[in-house]
Symmetry: C2
Subunit: 272 residues, 2 copies
């Protein structure tokens, strides 16, 4: 199945627009995992088991797997996801952006070595740096548009030719980058007005929305401004709010409960 | 020594503004290395031995070390560089750009795990995503400004508030990001006019210039438009033109010769 097919299936099958950010920080793992040979993988596996009925996607952030052992634990996590919930798409958050020959190597790494369904990419260097990702019709390319961090607007909200830079990105995604129907955009929950602008310009495109929970984004505003006409279209990421819901022995059950709560809050807002 | 001290020392000590891009593609390695246990490292080691008298920096592109064994060979290469030519700065080309907490992990990976003197970063997400790099006064932060690839101008040359986006990046680098005196900018050899604009705005800032050689940039225009008043200030990267100068048994000698030739061409253009 393609990324888009999986995403559409998971939105409907799980009645959920929640994405769980698998960002395991070794220093924050529950004490109960300390004796494990692969503590990061054990943490992820428990989180996946506890949340897979309540999510539309998983998003491991590559930085949390940067050490050498951790790379192996990322590979183990990806394999576990493919085995236990092959119907849930996995977005590997790598934010790549590099010249074409290099981008091809990165695309192969994310899609073929790690087996992710989608990758996040940075558009600053333009079309030829995104093409090796976009060319893979079976995979998703999730392009940074208006990011949720405090300085996100510094370049992204500069006005050029009558519209902000992030809207140039949104329109390029709609008009030039979506030739395989596999493009998606990142718009932060912390900028609901920009979310409305992007949704208006790209009525059917999936939007990955980080920034609810720890970063302070408001779920109601995200739903009001970001849903498609059919009340879908969003991949609402929460990481710390779910994976560290408890750091006791009950961490997995607490994560499952937190994912269900966010799913239900979202569904109430969208009237589903 | 800091990145800037090493760079200034290497420019003068080696009388060279050449940077060698250590981008080893397993499929292109000379046949003579086929039997090696660590062919990528063996390739790099021979290239380093043959060029270290003629360069101002090395720049491994991280994508070429993305597989698991290759990560080890990158670490071996970094260690070899520290041992054999500790006076030459090493720029790890990772083009990172992510939210602050994640950027901190990436900065630690590049500077402390791999021990690089500098990292390349992507400014699209703004100040708080660059700060974990810029905060390291001992290390260099090399910020993408106007890139050399064909679509580089798509967003970077949009005009906002009377100047192109890449000039906003150059002025932010000068006015806000250089608080530790460790910022540098990437401007491609393929856009000499933009190079002149950036140099005018940032008279003393080091500029990393990819795109000579395989990408077609003109050395004479780079020198005319990019040097500082004292005829320095550039880190002119060549990868394929040097490391694949020959794929016979003489590959290392050929690489050394290619680096010397580029060094001399540059020095002739700058009248040194």
């Amino acid at each position: 199945m393609t990324f888009m097919e999986k995403l559409n299936g998971a939105w409907r099958g799980n009645k959920s627009m929640v994405c769980v950010g698998l960002d395991p920080d070794l220093k924050k793992l529950p004490a109960v995992l300390k004796g494990e040979k692969y503590p990061v993988f054990a943490f992820n596996r428990a989180l996946i088991d506890a949340t897979k009925h309540a999510v539309c996607a998983y998003k491991p952030q590559a930085a949390f797997y940067a050490g050498q052992n951790a790379v192996e634990e990322l590979a183990m996590t990806m394999e576990y996801l493919r085995k236990i919930c092959p119907e849930i798409p996995v977005i590997l958050d790598v934010k790549r952006g590099d010249i074409g020959s290099t981008a091809s190597m990165y695309a192969r790494e994310v899609y073929d070595i790690f087996g992710a369904d989608a990758a996040t990419v940075n558009p600053y260097m333009g079309t030829d740096t995104l093409k090796p990702f976009l060319d893979r019709a079976d995979k998703g390319t999730v392009i940074l548009c208006r990011t949720s961090n405090p300085s996100g607007g510094e370049l992204q909200n500069l006005t050029a030719d009558g519209k902000p830079v992030f809207m140039h990105v949104a329109e390029l995604a709609r008009d030039q980058w979506n030739y395989n129907g596999n493009a998606a955009l990142v718009v932060g929950a912390t900028c609901p007005e920009e979310l409305a602008m992007v949704r208006k310009a790209c009525p059917g495109m999936p939007l990955l929305v980080p920034g609810v929970g720890a970063q302070g984004g408001d779920v109601e505003a995200v739903i009001r401004n970001g849903c498609t006409r059919e009340g879908l279209g969003l991949i609402i990421n929460s990481s710390r709010g779910i994976i560290y819901a408890s750091n006791g022995d009950d961490f997995a059950a607490a994560a499952g409960h937190a994912a269900e709560t966010l799913r239900d809050t979202i569904n109430t807002c969208r009237g589903a």
